[in-house]
Symmetry: C2
Subunit: 321 residues, 2 copies
């Protein structure tokens, strides 16, 4: 299949549909960001369709064209997605269950619409934005939940049911908090934003201030979080061995104190284990660039449905310009 | 590069170099096993070269040709391997350290020699032998050590340093046994054949009989092993989400009682967790076929250096015939 082009160039639309706002952009075939727009997300099926069309229309206007000229369309959405069909099984924050989002939008565009879970899309976007397309990369999202996405050999490791990377539900503490999944002591019950915020509030603590809070209760919570994240990152490196582990998500952004303390704990563990020292987990950590619309770039990559392959110079130039 | 062929057909040599014997075979381009040979392994660098040449020579004789006619050569070896260079970093059982095995053998064949860790090669071989080349597959090896190898999108997930799948060194019990890696309570200290056998011997127990041993010490050890393997398999499914989890290795073969009891424990855990019930880990388990030379088939696949793609009918026919 020959992709449609405008003046011989592809126009890849990517939209990251977030709980409150949706971030859209258009990449050309040299991975340059040609236009970028952020609009509020309307919940519900009809609302999401309107949101995507509003973003697409605004971007097309910016480029002096119409949404019909987009040569590929990719969407990232927080929820369980069957990327082969474009069906979103559940996306709680957006008020939808089992929606065939690809079909819903297919008549609005000339190109096929592809949909992917937003954490997985972000991993692809991070690969492009960090020019890490030749080496394996993991993205660990510390958001309301905890999940990872891995790009290996230029492609997402999705697994049989798109379930790869659901590491938030690894149970590490039989005496831990009960998880909504039915297990006890899942990593997500310690690190997931929902659980973490609720627990801290009940203790009169807050996530942003936890790093410098001298009270014993704060120290205990801090140690718990540091320990669980250190275990999570070690687990990601042991299982997937990515060259780069990208960290992102709301919890990480709020807890500015977290990364240095986790690096300290990684080094402490490495000091007693030659194996861990050899893994050098701390040397693989990179924070998700906040000035770059990585999730939307990833959505555009999802739309292309091609193996990830960067043109580092072009991406860098576009992102900085 | 056009592969060399004999009468228009590829002849892919694969040799699985084991601690005591080496298993070689030749696949044609329809994945049929044309010849198969097993010879004792000589340790040391020179010994391994002689072993591979003896196997290759015998297979060539069987086919009425010479080793020069092999169009690809792949080796599987128990050790840390850099598959890009063919350098074996360590292979303790074979008495070699940092050997450029590919270079050592390159002048003996007309084709390039490719080398891979034997667990990873076996995962590729299992994909071909089980005709599971379209869906992701994990191979969990319960041998002297514990490791997994995953094939995703038709390719091995190797990671940046060929370390993907080293799940034996996930520390799950801070009060557990000290591991040679320096950590405490690694999965391998419970499930790895070296640790397990030594501990059972010290308790007057044996692995084969452990399943039906009514003594309390046996029950405790049994529970420990079942718990650790259940956790391992759950971990593999949560991280990689493979359609099929292939189980193999000496510990599994000796402990015939193990798989049914692990399946029982998987179902017990699923009964209290909707998430685990949804994963249906027990339904993904398959035992490594023992009548098929899977590791050697995998070595031949390594030699081809192509994405895994089965011709299921042909493989089945050759393996049964």
């Amino acid at each position: 299949v020959t992709p449609r082009t405008r003046d011989g160039h592809a126009l890849s639309l990517g939209v990251d549909i977030g709980g409150t706002k949706s971030h859209g952009l258009v990449l050309d075939d040299a991975d340059r960001v040609l236009a970028e727009r952020v609009l509020p997300t309307e919940p519900s099926e009809a609302g999401i369709r309107r949101t995507v069309l509003a973003v697409a229309g605004a971007l097309a206007d910016d480029l002096g064209t119409t949404p019909a000229s987009f040569t590929s369309v990719g969407l990232g959405i927080p929820g369980v997605v069957d990327h082969t069909s474009g069906v979103v099984e559940t996306a709680v924050n957006l008020g939808i269950t089992r929606t065939d989002l690809a079909a819903l939008l297919s008549r609005d565009f000339c190109a096929d619409v592809r949909v992917e879970n937003d954490v997985k899309a972000t991993a692809l976007g991070a690969g492009l934005a960090l020019a890490e397309t030749q080496r394996d990369l993991a993205y660990v999202n510390l958001g309301t939940g905890l999940a990872a996405a891995v790009v290996s050999n230029g492609r997402l490791v999705r697994g049989a049911r798109n379930g790869a990377g659901e590491i938030g539900h690894l149970a590490i503490d039989p005496a831990g908090e009960l998880c909504t999944c039915g297990q006890r002591g899942c990593l997500e019950t310690v690190l997931g934003g929902n659980y973490l915020t609720r627990r801290l509030v009940s203790l009169g603590l807050d996530l942003a201030g936890l790093g410098g809070d001298p009270r014993p209760a704060a120290a205990a919570e801090r140690a718990r979080v540091i320990d669980a994240l250190t275990t999570t990152l070690t687990l990601v490196v042991i299982t997937y061995d990515p060259a780069v582990v990208v960290l992102g998500g709301g919890v990480l952004r709020t807890a500015g104190w977290l990364r240095p303390l986790v690096e300290e704990e990684l080094r402490r563990r490495a000091s007693v284990s030659g194996f861990l020292a050899g893994l050098a987990v701390d040397g693989r950590l990179v924070e998700l660039p906040t000035a770059t619309p990585v999730a939307a770039i990833g959505a555009a990559v999802v739309g292309r449905k091609k193996k990830l392959r960067a043109r580092p110079a072009a991406v860098g130039a576009a992102l900085e310009g």
